[in-house]
Every structure is written in structure tokens, then in C-alpha cells.
């Protein structure tokens, strides 16, 4: 394994060897600390079995499955529109983004394409759910590092986005707005201007967060150089999204492999990377991503075409036999659905590739040698949603 050659584990090994040599008489056995399933920092029911020496983590192993809901199995007995309602609950902070890759996969199999207006609105709502999701991350990470106020500001300003999502789709958290071949409804009157205002508020929120949290010396002391994930490790563990870009890998599905049906090429935006790969880099990349997402929304709002929002599709949806995999760049990283259809009302099999499951898998590697407070920084900056780990 590559692990032995990296400086972190070498330091850990050397430290261990020194401890064994010097402290023969004072040998203390480590302590096993169960963080979770109920622990404030895991925001959900993740359990981390941490083996500690004092406050230093010898090993940390995430245990998931406490909230497993069996979605992949459930999809085999649900029709496609029903699945759409179900998969809203995977990443519950960016629900709309969960629907899109599944719907795109179904559309690919049925060989239908949503009308341009629907594509535009999809992309706008997709990016809005990204803003809603990551703006909460910024506050929540502050909360985990002890800065209470950041959390409340995040909840306050996320409301601007959620209100827009609600007024367009009718659901604040679980829109269930996508249909195969388009969208359920057109946008309400005045929505575009209101969305401009909301995005301006969110851009101001990003500036505020940079002032309050990201620029803070204590915050930087707690995050810089903590939990460094080199690019090759990030790639070998299958990290995606901001976690990967923070390790310096310039990879974004929106730009590199955008599935047809999303119109990212119609907006002018930038993929941000950071060379450091530490907790600070992950936070910083996410902060920039929130800004970029708000800018994408603002540009697309101005160029939104007219026309219908729904293509001609049969009333009862039967997907022709075949296989399709569609992945999009969700707020947490790559989210993909591998849909296998046998021509029925229900899919034969759906494999859900959610980002957090892979993102959290790097934890044992990155947490060794860290202190317990750093473990919280690492966990917070890896940013997982429990529903995205346990599907």
C-alpha cells in the first residue's frame, strides 16, 4: 500500500516505535472511544470507533448502516415517478440535485429529451440546491469548530434559497419536481427577479462567511495543515466533488462530462481547485463553489428560453429494456444512477453511487495521528450527509 511512504504514517510509525522504546515502564493501553451513533459532530447516526492514545487518534474507523433504508432494493418495486419521490431523501440538503441524474438516466433509456426551458430550469434549481446545501456546510462547519454564530447565519441566509425552491416546486426540502421528459410545472410569476435578489443575498453571505469564519485566525489554525489528503490518495479512495478538487485535482463533472439535459455550457463559470488538500482547502473550495453556483444561477436566469416545460411522453411510463449510467456533479460530489430496465413499469435494478459513502471511506487513512479536535475538523470538512452514506 502507498500508505507507508507518505510522511504522515511514517511519522506515526516512528512515534510508535519511540514510544515502545522509551515508555516500556509507563506503557499505557489505549482507549477506545465510540463517537456516535449519537454524537453532535456526526450530524446523523454515523459511528466512529476511534482508538485513542491520550487525545491522539491511533485509528479511526467509520461504521455506517445505522440509517440504511434499503433504497436500492425499494426501487425494484416502485415505478419511476415513485422512485423520484424516494430518492429525494438521499442527500436531504440538496434534494433536487438527487432527482436529476436518475431522471436523466431514465430519459436516456426512453430516448426523450426535455425541452430547452425545462433544461434551463433544471440547471438553475440544481445549482440552487447546491447553494442551499453548501451554504449550510459553511455554517455547520463553523458550529463544529465552536463558532456558534456562523451556524445561525447560515440557517438565516439559506432560507432565501429554500424560499425560491419552495415557490417554484412547492417543497422546501423534497421538491419531487422532475418528471421524465421535463418538469412538473413552469416557474411562478416574478420568480426570476426574486431569484436574482436571493442570489445576491447569498453572495453577500459568502463574503460574510469569509469575514467571520474562513478568514479567522483561529479557524485557520484549526484547519490549515490538518487532515491533508494528497491527490493520489484522494483518487485511489474515489473521492469526488469539492474534496477531490481541494486536493488539487481539476475534475468537475459539470464541465468535463456534463450529461445532455443540463446547460452548464451556456454559463460562464470556473472550477476552483486548491493545492493543499487540508481541511482549509476543502472549506475554501466549497466557499468558492457557492459563489460560482450563485453566478451560474444568475446568468441562466437571464438567458432562460421560452417554450413548454414538458416533452411528449406517454401517461404510463414504461422504460424500454437497456442499461444506462448517468452521473452529475452533486453538491457532495459525483452522484450517479446505474439503471437496468427490462421494459417494465419498474426498473430491474438501480445502483446508486452517492458521493458521501466514498468521501467518508478515506477517514481511517486521514485520521491517523490526528488529535480528537482535528478528527472533528476532518469529519466536518469531508462534509457528508448521513442519508448520502446510508441509502
Amino acid at each position: 500500500m502507498t500508505a507507508v511512504s507518505d510522511p504522515q504514517s511514517v511519522a506515526a510509525l516512528v512515534g510508535e516505535a519511540n514510544d515502545n522504546r522509551v515508555n516500556l515502564d509507563f506503557e499505557s493501553e489505549g482507549m477506545t472511544l465510540n463517537m456516535g451513533p449519537q454524537h453532535p459532530a456526526t450530524h446523523g447516526t454515523l459511528r466512529i470507533i476511534a482508538r485513542l492514545d491520550g487525545e491522539q487518534v491511533i485509528s479511526a474507523e467509520p461504521m455506517c448502516g445505522y440509517m440504511h433504508r434499503g433504497y436500492e432494493k425499494l426501487t425494484e418495486v416502485r415505478t419511476y415517478p415513485q422512485i423520484n419521490a424516494l430518492i429525494n431523501r438521499i442527500d436531504w440538503l440538496g434534494s433536487f440535485a438527487n432527482e436529476v441524474p436518475f431522471i436523466l438516466a431514465a430519459e436516456k433509456l426512453m430516448d426523450v429529451e426535455a425541452p430547452p426551458r425545462a433544461q434551463w430550469i433544471r440547471t438553475i434549481l440544481f445549482e440552487m440546491s447546491r447553494v442551499a446545501n453548501i451554504s449550510l456546510f459553511l455554517g455547520d462547519f463553523g458550529l463544529q469548530l465552536g463558532g456558534m454564530t456562523a451556524g445561525f447565519y447560515a440557517f438565516r441566509d439559506r432560507e432565501w434559497v429554500l424560499n425560491q425552491i419552495e415557490s417554484a416546486t412547492g417543497g422546501r426540502f423534497h421538491p419531487n419536481f422532475d418528471r421524465i421528459g421535463g418538469l412538473k410545472d413552469d416557474l411562478p410569476k416574478g420568480w426570476i427577479e426574486e431569484s436574482h435578489t436571493a442570489m445576491d443575498k447569498l453572495l453577500a453571505f459568502c463574503d460574510e462567511m469569509e469575514d467571520l469564519l474562513v478568514g479567522n485566525e483561529i479557524f485557520q489554525g484549526r484547519t490549515r495543515g490538518i487532515g491533508v489528503i494528497p491527490a493520489e490518495i484522494a483518487l485511489s479512495y474515489g473521492l469526488s466533488g469539492a474534496n477531490l478538487r481541494a486536493s488539487g485535482v481539476d475534475w468537475d463533472l459539470r464541465r468535463d462530462n456534463c450529461p445532455p439535459g443540463l446547460v452548464y455550457d451556456k454559463a460562464d463559470w470556473k472550477v476552483w481547485t486548491h493545492p493543499d488538500g487540508d481541511c482549509f482547502a476543502r472549506t475554501w473550495v466549497r466557499l468558492q463553489e457557492t459563489r460560482e453556483a450563485a453566478k451560474i444561477v444568475k446568468q441562466l436566469l437571464d438567458t432562460i428560453p421560452s417554450g413548454p416545460v414538458m416533452a411528449k411522453v406517454p401517461r404510463i411510463i414504461k422504460v424500454p429494456a437497456g442499461e444506462a449510467y448517468v452521473a452529475t456533479e452533486n453538491p457532495l460530489g459525483e452522484m450517479g444512477y446505474y439503471v437496468v430496465s427490462k421494459g417494465d413499469l419498474v426498473p430491474f435494478r438501480v445502483k446508486i453511487r452517492s458521493a458521501s459513502f466514498n468521501n467518508i471511506s478515506v477517514l481511517p487513512w486521514v485520521a491517523r495521528g490526528a488529535y480528537v479536535p482535528d478528527l472533528i475538523s476532518i469529519l466536518g470538512s469531508l462534509y457528508f450527509i448521513l442519508g448520502d452514506i446510508d441509502r
Partner: protein, 345 residues
């Protein structure tokens, strides 16, 4: 009325009784005031929330309602707890707070014990609370509690020394360790012959004030130094197993300690219970003294709580390096400069 108070000379047993009653009334009251004003209202406004609205006029009775709620809760002790130690620990913490109030002067005579070494006494007993915290952490039979208690004990090494060193500057300048003496020295002093505002030591001892407040922040285990009770790391540390009344005692002790430390900072740096344009010998201070002190305490508390609501949390080793590499050298420089100027000027 002030004359009446000035000529009031009760026998020893009565004065002792009065002092005990006053302290036991003042400690919870001040804790409630700070909790209500800062923790509930000002914190809410800073975080763009409304805070308590319903209980009493403008939500002022919310803390009382919460207190009653705590009293109703069952007093649970963990299975493996060292029961006797577990139950006594909150009282030890509270006792350290009570003892701190003994030395705080609210006017020339409104003080439980006007000690000649008041500063020394205050700094000595302030660290007693760590014993209670260690007892709580050890006896709770919980790993989180134990880690919290050990963090608190480790923190003591970091902040206690800067706190003592920061105060020495004031002591040198005043030439006395009596808290009342320091108040008198400030209010009867003059800045280059101009005695308009007396001579509050914050003007010269600004560095000392800053270090003192930072150390108080650590003593109170408040952000950015709240590692012993970090809720996102070790789930409130040594308090995690406490319920009901015993948890309430921890809460009371924390906020009462915040008040008394703000009071000591006000005495040391802001001129204490006196205002410069009224002679310190005036009998009006029987009434005015507590009010003036309270006002100054609220100003200092605002700083303490403002920092608390704004900053993220340090790591334990970062606090140590901050204390030993920054605060202690700064405090030593402060002492040297103060001592040299005291002799030269």
C-alpha cells in the same frame, strides 16, 4: 438613608449572617442576570434571532422557567459512578465561585471581607473550581467526561500564569494588593496632574487587561477556550452525565464566575465601584457603589460574551502555545515596563 447605612454597626453574629445571606442571594441573581441578558438576549440579537419571547414580559422570566424545569428533572447518576464524589463535585465548583465573591468590593464598606491581599486571594481561590471539575470528570465513569476534565486541568496550566502576571502590573502601579486600595488609587489618581477622570489603569495596563480577559475566558471555559466542554468534540465534557439540579449548579457557577471575574476586571482596570467626580469618601457610595460596579461589570461581560459568541474554538495545544509563547512573554514585558516607569516617573 446613606447616613443610616454608614452608622450601621451590627454585632459579629448578625453581620456574619447578613453576609452569608447576601452572598447566597447575590450569586444566583448575578448568574441569572448574565444568563438572561447575554446568553439569551444579546446572543440572539447577534445571531439574528429573537431569543425568548413568551415567558414573562419580553421573555425575561425564561431563565426562571428553565431553572424550574431543571429542578423537576430526575437526579440521575451513571451506573459506574463514584457516587459520593459525583454528587459533591458541582458543589465544589460552586463553592469556589462563592469564595470569589467574598473579596469583591461593591463599595468601601460593602464587602464581605476587605482583605489586604485581595488580589492574591482572588487569584488563588479561582483555580479551586478545577478540583471540582476533575472530581466530576473522574467520578462520572464516562470517557468524554474524563477527557473534558483532563483538558480543564491542562488548561489551568496555560491560563493561570498569564492571569497572575497580568495583574502584577496593576499591583505595581497601585502599590497595594487590596482591591479597595486599587479602587482608591485609581479614582484619586491623576493623569499628569489632570484628575478629571481619575486614573483608570486600563489606560496604562491595556495589555494587562487584554491578557486578563483572555485568561478569564479560559477560566470560564468559554469559546475560544471552551475545549473542556466542547460539545461538538467531547459532548460537553465533564458535564455530560449531570442532570437536573446538579447540572443547574454547574450552570450557575459558570455564570456567577463570569460575573465576579468581570467585577474583578472592573475593579482592577476600570476604577471599580467609584466614579471619579464623586470623592471616594462620600457616603453616597453605599447606594451608588453597587450600581456603578454593576454597570462596569456589564461592560466587561459584554466583551467576554461578545468574544464567546464570535470565535471558533482553539485546540488544547494551541492554547498552550498561545499562553506560553505569546501571553506570558507579553505579560512579563508589561511587568518590566510598568516597574521601570513606576521607579522613573
Amino acid at each position: 438613608m446613606t447616613l443610616l447605612l454608614a452608622s450601621f454597626a451590627p454585632p459579629y453574629w448578625l453581620s456574619t449572617l447578613i453576609k452569608v445571606l447576601v452572598i447566597s442571594a447575590v450569586v444566583p441573581t448575578t448568574a441569572l442576570i448574565l444568563g438572561m441578558v447575554f446568553l439569551f438576549k444579546i446572543m440572539s440579537w447577534m445571531q439574528s434571532r429573537l431569543g425568548p419571547q413568551e415567558a414573562g414580559p419580553r421573555g425575561t422570566l425564561q431563565l426562571l422557567a428553565d431553572g424550574v424545569k431543571f429542578l423537576q428533572k430526575e437526579d440521575i447518576a451513571p451506573d459506574g459512578a463514584d457516587l459520593w464524589v459525583f454528587k459533591v463535585a458541582p458543589l465544589v465548583v460552586l463553592m469556589s465561585t462563592l469564595v470569589l465573591y467574598v473579596a469583591l468590593p461593591a463599595s468601601m464598606h460593602l464587602v464581605v471581607a476587605d482583605l489586604d491581599v485581595g488580589v492574591f486571594f482572588v487569584l488563588a481561590v479561582a483555580s479551586l473550581s478545577v478540583i471540582g471539575v476533575l472530581m466530576a470528570g473522574w467520578s462520572s465513569a464516562s470517557k468524554y467526561s474524563l477527557m473534558g476534565a483532563l483538558r480543564a486541568a491542562g488548561q489551568l496550566i496555560a491560563y493561570e500564569l498569564p492571569m497572575v502576571l497580568a495583574v502584577i502590573g496593576v499591583v505595581i502601579q497601585a502599590g497595594t494588593m487590596s482591591l479597595n486600595g486599587i479602587v482608591l488609587a485609581q479614582n484619586n489618581g491623576s493623569i499628569f496632574g489632570w484628575s478629571g477622570i481619575g486614573f483608570p489603569y486600563i489606560l496604562t495596563q491595556f495589555l494587562g487587561f487584554f491578557i486578563f480577559i483572555a485568561a478569564v475566558q479560559a477560566e470560564l471555559t468559554q469559546p475560544p477556550f471552551d475545549m473542556p466542554v466542547a460539545e461538538s468534540e467531547i459532548v460537553s465534557g465533564y458535564q455530560v452525565e449531570y442532570t437536573g439540579f446538579r447540572f443547574l449548579i454547574f450552570f450557575l457557577a459558570e455564570f456567577a464566575t463570569a460575573f465576579v471575574f468581570a467585577g474583578i476586571a472592573a475593579v482592577l482596570f476600570l476604577g471599580g465601584w467609584a466614579v471619579p467626580w464623586l470623592p471616594t469618601a462620600s457616603d453616597w457610595y453605599y447606594v451608588l457603589g453597587p450600581i456603578v460596579l454593576f454597570a462596569k461589570v456589564m461592560i466587561v461581560s459584554f466583551i467576554i460574551f461578545w468574544v464567546r459568541f464570535t470565535y471558533p474554538r482553539f485546540r488544547e495545544d494551541q492554547l498552550q502555545s498561545l499562553a506560553w509563547k505569546v501571553l506570558i512573554p507579553l505579560a512579563l514585558v508589561n511587568i518590566v515596563v510598568t516597574a521601570v516607569l513606576k521607579v522613573v516617573l
